[in-house]
């Protein structure tokens, strides 16, 4: 691990915000004779929240898993923090893996451990800390993700869906990673919880200076917290950029996605809201 890329977390982040943290070039992933991803290019910049959208089976999860090294691409280059994971020594690879946190779609909490033990797991394995400090840090993380203290000693099977997501997010943040992968963080949550979760991700992103790679179907999340959106269709990224650019695109799939029955309703509502915001705002307390 190089020192220069680690320390960019702080002030450097503000200055060089166009720093590429994940770069995917000409990626091809296929299972048997079924091509899932073909010639995909994608950049994720430091400090941004990137939303990845795409139809079911268009390779969103496969792309995420390929970046994480869980799926082996047939060809193409994936560089995270400027490093090619496959070319690294095992020790360097472990160091790299400690710089990201992952929230899996169904939480993937260890079912045999309590919530607190789940959060402490990476600290216990990767760092050398006293029990007291680990307890405090785990409780702090729980509070940051909005879980009450009595959830700490519960087992994952005793939690509701929303609590599982929060606990899994707390675990993903256990080592204060620079990069967080979120796989459909708001799926299965009610609109209130989903909005809270979006807000939570936004707050944490600002507070901790995170880069967020978020796979989502939730149009609300895209509107409220994503800086940029990458759309996956036809086995590649058909468009990436600020949401406004994608909304204005003529691509048939994007039109269907954002201006279809569901997307259209939401887009219209959002645009109206935006218009209201444009008016000279009355003084608010």
């Amino acid at each position: 691990m190089t020192g220069s890329s680690t320390n960019a977390n702080g002030a450097a982040q503000q200055r060089s915000s166009r720093d590429v943290i994940i770069s995917v070039r000409d990626l091809v992933i296929a299972f048997g004779d079924r091509t899932v991803v073909n010639g995909l290019d994608l950049d994720v910049y430091r400090g941004e929240v990137l939303g990845v959208v795409g139809g079911s089976g268009q390779g969103k999860s496969v792309l995420t898993r390929a970046i994480l090294g869980l799926v082996r691409p047939r060809s193409g280059a994936i560089r995270v923090f400027g490093q090619d994971r496959d070319a690294l020594e095992p020790r360097e690879r472990r160091a790299l893996e400690q710089r990201w946190g992952v929230l899996f779609q169904n939480g993937a909490l260890f079912s045999g451990l309590t919530v607190k033990q789940n959060i402490q797991m990476p600290m216990r394995e990767m760092r050398d800390l006293s029990e007291g400090l680990m307890d405090e840090l785990a409780m702090l993380k729980l509070e940051l993700v909005g879980l009450s203290a009595d959830a700490a000693d519960k087992f994952p099977s005793e939690l509701s869906g929303g609590m599982v997501k929060r606990a899994a997010l707390a675990r993903a943040l256990a080592l204060d990673p620079e990069l967080v992968f979120l796989d459909e963080p708001t799926s299965g949550l009610d609109p209130i919880s989903a909005a809270e979760f979006d807000e939570l991700i936004g707050t944490l992103q600002r507070t901790l200076g995170l880069t967020v790679f978020m796979v989502t179907h939730d149009l609300d999340s895209l509107y409220s917290i994503c800086d940029r959106v990458a759309a996956l269709a036809e086995h590649r990224v058909i468009a990436a950029g600020p949401l406004e650019t994608l909304l204005a695109s003529d691509h048939p799939w994007l039109k269907a996605y954002f201006h279809g029955v569901r997307g259209g309703r939401l887009t219209a509502a959002r645009v109206e809201q935006k218009d209201e915001e444009w008016k000279p705002a009355p003084t608010t307390p």
Binding site: G3, N7, G10, A11, R127, L129, D135, E136, D153, F155
Partner: protein, 382 residues
Amino acid sequence: MTAAAVARPPKVARQPSAEGVRLALSGDWTLFASQRLEEEGGRIVEEARRDRRVAIDLAQLSQLDTAGAWLINRARHDLARRDVAVTLEHVRPEYSTLLKETHYRAFAAPSRPRFNVIFDMLADFGESIVDALREFYRGVGFLGEFVSSMAYVAANPRRFRLTALVAQIEMIGFRSVPIIVLINVLVGGIVAQQGIFQLLRFGASSYTVSLIGILVLRELGVLLTSIMIAGRSGSAITAELGSMKMREEIDALRVMGLSPLEVLIAPRVLGLLISLPILTFIADIAALFGGMIVSWWYGGISPVAFASLLKEAIALHTFLVGIIKAPFMALVIGLIASMDGLATQGSAESLGRQVTSSVVKSIFMVIVMDGLFAIFFASIDY
């Protein structure tokens, strides 16, 4: 740990100043530094606790994360309790949000469980006895449920799942044949070798054939087969049903108005009931074959002599004693495996525990049943 962590370790430097003391923090105050970070966090309090006013200077901080911010906040809190006035200086805007979010709060101390070896041991002992009795009670209930659902299926033959049954017979019966044949040939051979070797001293090595015939047909064939199937298929049934329970598939069946007993358990238990007698028969033949080969090579008893001696030693009832036990063993294995599978809780650990308990319990029960049958057959003189 890594180059980055070693390059700029967190550090506290004490600099006396006009109004009290100034602590300059430098380096990476991140979790990367592990123990070093914790020690330095403690040193903030250590260095400043005898002063009245302390300024913590963050100008030279190169990195800060939640853990670092928490330690700084905790130190501030500790100092404030000792009546030391603390101020933070040169806080960068991005750090101030982090410091605000991680402000000090007291967490309830985790409750340490009460620990008393004797008390815990007695409690465990009592609990396991109550559990065992309850388990037996549930087992009897489950058997009743199984029989009544079988009766229902018998009355409504259209609800019978023939495809599932055939699939189970293939999994449990057909695919076990190679391993069952292999272990029984070996065990038959071993019994023959020991019989010849030990009985030779009395000049009675031809009785080896009786030994093999009776031992294999009455006891070993069915016992080895049942133990093998308990390990091989009992564990599979428990794991299948357990993971279906964890993924709410069992609940899905229930809400569709289907009984898991009828859909999942009946084909498995029936599959066992049909497979185990057949496998026992195959095991008997394999063990006799193994015994015959070893008697021939090692004891010089030709296959023809072996066959005629065997014919004298055994009768049909010797074979029947073994084969009658097989369906009962099958029922015990199937019911224990299904019951344990359905008792799986949410965690992966629980699934592992259930599979272990299923295999251990069914092997134990197979041996107990065998003992009960031995007493029964002895008393009816069969």
